[in-house]
């Protein structure tokens, strides 16, 4: 089985160390070109003017919010069913990154909304769903660290992530429903299918750049957690020796 291969941390570390420089390089190139295209090449929107440039940091952050949560859910399945040791580390290392992106999506969305709507916060369906997703992240992180035994925290968080993942579409649907009941449809549409190609390219570059940024950080964090686990083993060996 392919994923059994990485049941050995030494093997995983070797691969991670080999891949990391490439990840860092690609992240830097993609983010730099995305910023250049977004700030200098892409045209202003005929309705929203220059404020549309917020899209290039906002939309990829919102993508990542969802993408990272999906990854956590997949890792949770691997952890609960196949008990793969890497999966727990991947989930717990992903959560803070996902939460940070979700936070960014919220704040940049609010900064984009202020000139468009005239207020910092509207209970727009999209923003509201992302806010709830942010709470799901916080709960996941809090549960991961709520136990003296880290393994127990990881397993409990895996169950929570799966329950949350089942709930995300329900929450999205209910918030959309609630929003249409209470508000006129929003004039504010981030992205959309009829986007100008000069706006699409920076968006794609930033989206890929964010994804690679996440992968780079994930590898670094797993590496760091592996060392942490080894230090804990050393601790218990010392206790045994005493």
């Amino acid at each position: 089985m392919a994923f059994d291969y990485f049941a050995n941390p030494a093997r995983f570390l070797r691969l991670a160390n080999a891949v990391l420089p490439w990840c860092v390089g690609a992240t830097v190139i993609l983010l730099a070109s995305g910023l250049y295209l977004g700030l200098f090449v892409a045209p202003a929107d005929y309705q929203q003017g220059e404020s549309v440039r917020i899209m290039y940091v906002h939309v990829p952050a919102a993508w990542m919010a969802m993408f990272v949560y999906t990854n956590i859910a997949i890792a949770s399945i691997l952890s609960l069913i196949w008990r793969h040791p890497l999966a727990d580390l991947a989930a717990s290392a992903s959560a803070p990154i996902g939460a940070a992106f979700t936070f960014l999506a919220l704040v940049t969305g609010s900064l984009w909304g202020k000139p468009m709507w005239g207020t910092w916060w509207v209970w727009d369906a999209r923003l509201t769903s992302v806010l709830i997703l942010f709470f799901l992240y916080l709960g996941h992180m809090a549960l991961t660290h709520a136990f003296d035994n880290p393994a127990r925290g990881a397993k409990a968080a895996a169950v929570l992530a799966l329950v949350g993942f089942v709930n995300v579409p329900i929450i999205k649907f209910s918030v959309d429903w609630w929003n249409t009941l209470h508000q006129p449809a929003s004039v504010f549409r981030a992205g959309g299918p009829t986007i100008h190609p000069d706006m699409l390219w920076p968006l794609i570059a930033m989206g890929l750049g964010y994804t690679l940024f996440y992968i780079t950080l994930l590898l670094l964090r797993i590496k760091s957690d592996l060392i942490g686990a080894r230090l804990r083993t050393l601790d218990s060996l010392r206790q045994d020796a005493a």
């Binding site: 809090a142 549960l143 709520a146 136990f147 003296d148 409990a156 169950v159 329950v163 089942v166 329900i170």
Partner: protein, 221 residues
């Protein structure tokens, strides 16, 4: 299934002999709701307008308050281990305990909701819809709450953790519960709202025993 029945009977007997727990939950529900007029003013129309929301939010908080007693005592005295070892599948055990929990919290909340409706000047025409929506919604609150309660067994600060885990998952129930009553007040059809509440209940009926049992097994390790 007789075993699951035994667990329901036992939890009901326990709740009956510790009546003050259930009474406290209802008192909390009524008292918290009664605070709102002091916050928003005594104007009758305004109170009527916020009544469905107030009833649902306070019911939700009351359920949250009651979640601790769902598994904690059984976890601490070793009962949970014996239940995990018994021939009754742990998934059924979770369902049985949730059912008993609902009978001793959800049902009293439904019974006392009309009192708040009257205090808030809510038209009586919406009362059947409120009761029906709560009948479909409060079991979901108990089911989802059980997952949170089971996951936090043995955790540091378990008590503050549960709301953080559970409240975001309560939002769909809150939305459709309130919208059903709002629809009834405005004379719109309430059926779609109630059907959605029933749909969420069905999903929770599947997810909660599975996740709850998995969490209890972890807690027993």
């Amino acid at each position: 299934m007789t075993g699951a029945g035994g667990i329901i009977a036992r939890d009901l007997k326990l709740a009956l002999r510790q009546r003050s727990d259930a009474v406290m939950i209802v008192l909390f529900f009524v008292l918290t709701a009664a605070l709102f007029p002091f916050g928003v003013g005594p104007e009758a129309n305004q109170l009527a307008a916020i009544a469905p929301g107030v009833i649902w939010v306070t019911a939700l908080l009351a359920v949250l308050l009651s979640l601790e007693r769902l598994f904690l005592a059984d976890y601490e005295d070793g009962s949970l281990e014996l239940m995990a070892l018994s021939p009754v599948p742990l998934e059924f055990t979770v369902l049985a305990k949730v059912f008993a929990h609902w009978l001793t919290t959800g049902l009293p909340l439904i019974a006392s909701a009309p009192l708040i409706a009257v205090l808030f000047n809510m038209p009586a025409s919406a009362l059947p819809t409120l009761a029906f929506a709560m009948l479909l919604g409060t079991p979901t609150l108990s089911l989802i709450g059980a997952i949170g309660a089971a996951l936090t067994l043995g955790a540091r600060r378990g008590g503050v953790l549960v709301p953080l885990l559970v409240l975001p998952l309560y939002i769909p129930t809150l939305i459709f519960g309130v919208s059903a009553v709002d629809a009834a007040l405005l004379g719109f059809p309430v059926r779609p709202h109630l059907l959605l509440l029933a749909g969420i209940l069905l999903i929770s009926l599947v997810v909660s025993p599975l996740a709850g049992a998995a969490a209890l097994r972890q807690a027993n390790e």
